[in-house]
C-alpha cells in the first residue's frame, strides 16, 4: 500500500473523505498510518471532526423557531381557512442563525457584522390541496421541494419561473440568492417582495433585507429598515429590535 504525504492528503481532500467514510479501505488504512505519525495532519483531522460535531449541534439547536415565528405561525393558522381556497402554500418559521454557539466577544467590528448578517434559511412547509394547479404554481412547488433539500441554485432557477407578483416566490428567491452569496440579487428580490404591499411575506422580507444589506456593508440602510420594522406592529418587530440593538454604532 502506498504511503501518503501531507501535500497529497490536502490536495486530494483525504481528511474530509475519511470523515465522510468515502475512502477505499486501502486509502483509509494508509491515511490512519499517516496521521498516527504526523502531528500536523492529526491536528487538521481533529479540527474537522470537531467542526462536524459543532455544526451538527448547531443544526439541531437551530430548529427552535424564534419568538416572532410563533406569532407569525399563529397568524397563519388563523388565516389558513380563508387562504386555503386561494393559495396552496404558507411560510412557516425561520430558524434564527446558522451557527448557534457560545457567544464570543467580537474581536473586530467586521467580525461582529458578519455574525449579525448570518442566518439559516427559513423553513418552508407546503400545504397540500386538491385541485388543478397552474403552471406557475407547479413551478413554485417543484422549486420549493428543491429548497427543502437545500438545493438553492436549482430552487432559485425554479422560483424565477413562478409568478412574478407572487410574494412567496419572491421571498424565497431572495433567501436562496442570499444563501448563494448573490447579495445584490437577493436584496433586489426582497425589495420586490416588499413592494407588493401588505402580504404575510412583507415583514419577514424586510428583516432578511436588513441582513442582506449588512452583508453588503450598507449598515446605515439596514439600520433604517430595522428601525422602521421595529416601530411597526408586525410579527418581526421584536426580532428587528434585537438586531437593531446589536447594530448600535
Amino acid at each position: 500500500m502506498a504511503e501518503m504525504d501531507c501535500e497529497s492528503i490536502r490536495k486530494n481532500e483525504v481528511a474530509e473523505r475519511y470523515i465522510q467514510g468515502s475512502l477505499s479501505e486501502a486509502d483509509r488504512d494508509a491515511y490512519e498510518r499517516h496521521f498516527f505519525a504526523c502531528d500536523a495532519c492529526l491536528k487538521e483531522l481533529q479540527a474537522l471532526q470537531g467542526m462536524r460535531q459543532v455544526l451538527r449541534r448547531a443544526r439541531s439547536k437551530s430548529w427552535s423557531p424564534p419568538v416572532w415565528a410563533w406569532g407569525l405561525a399563529a397568524c397563519l393558522l388563523l388565516a389558513v381557512g380563508v387562504r386555503l381556497a386561494l393559495r396552496d402554500r404558507e411560510p412557516v418559521a425561520s430558524a434564527p442563525v446558522a451557527v448557534q454557539m457560545p457567544p464570543a466577544a467580537a474581536a473586530a467590528k467586521q467580525t461582529a457584522l458578519e455574525e449579525l448578517a448570518r442566518f439559516d434559511p427559513p423553513a418552508y412547509a407546503p400545504v397540500v390541496l386538491r385541485g388543478t394547479k397552474s403552471e406557475a404554481s407547479r413551478a413554485f412547488s417543484s422549486a420549493m421541494e428543491l429548497y427543502q433539500h437545500r438545493e438553492y441554485a436549482r430552487a432559485a432557477a425554479g422560483l424565477m419561473k413562478a409568478e412574478k407578483d407572487d410574494p412567496a416566490a419572491g421571498f424565497y428567491l431572495g433567501i436562496c440568492q442570499l444563501v448563494m452569496g448573490r447579495n445584490d440579487d437577493g436584496v433586489a428580490s426582497l425589495r420586490r417582495t416588499i413592494g407588493l404591499g401588505e402580504t404575510e411575506y412583507r415583514d419577514p422580507a424586510r428583516f432578511y433585507l436588513a441582513k442582506g444589506l449588512i452583508r453588503m456593508g450598507k449598515v446605515d440602510e439596514a439600520r433604517a429598515e430595522l428601525t422602521s420594522l421595529a416601530g411597526s406592529s408586525g410579527a418581526t418587530r421584536n426580532q428587528a429590535k434585537g438586531l437593531l440593538d446589536k447594530l448600535a454604532p
Binding site: R10, E13, E16, Y18, I19, Q20, G21, S22, E32, R33, F35, F36, A37, D39, L42, K43, E44, L45, Q46, A47, L48, Q49, G50, M51, R52, Q53, V54, L55, R56, A58, R59, A98, V99, M101, P102, A104, A107, T111, E114, E115, A117, R118, F119, R150, E151, Y152, A153, R154, A156, V179, M180, G181, R215
Partner: protein, 182 residues
Amino acid sequence: MAAIDLPSLVHRVGSGDPGAESELAQHYGQRIYALAYARTRDAEVARDLTQDTLLALITALRKRRLQEPDNLTGFVMGTARNLVSNYFRQQGRRLERQVMSEDVPAPPAWDGREHEERNEMLAKALQRLEPNDVEVLRMTLTEDLNPAQIAMRLGLSSDVVRQRKSRALKRVMEQLEKMRSH
C-alpha cells in the same frame, strides 16, 4: 505536540512507571479517538473504544507481552481497529472488555476532555468565518457532500467550493493556534 521517545516509554511502562503510562495515554489517546470517531461516527462510542484500546495497550506493556516493541504504533492501530470491528459485530450489546478481567491495576483514564475545549474554540472560530464559507463546511462535514455536489446546490464551480473550503479550514486552524497561544 513534542516528539516522544516511544521505545523509552515502552521500557518505563514495563518497569511500572505510572507517569510513563499517562504520557502514552496522552500520545495515543487522541489518535485512537480520531480513528474510532471516524469509523463509528459516535463520540461516546469512540471514547469507550479509546479507553479500551489504551487498556489493552498498557496491559500488554505492563506484562511485557508486546512481541515487537518497535512496532508499537502498529500494535495500537491494530488493537483499535479490532475493537471497532468487535463493536460493529456486537452492535446493540455492551462492548466486550476482555482485558478488564485480568488482574491488573487500572491504567490512567482518558476522558477526552480536550475535545470539549477544542470544540468550544472551534465554535468561536466558525463564528468568525464568512457565512458562505461556513455553509460549505457544513455541507461537507454534516451532509457528506463532495465539492461537485455542493457546487451544484450553490450554483458555483467545484473549484470555487474547494477554494472556500480550503480558505475556511486555514482560517480556523489559524484561529485555533491564536486561541491556544493566549
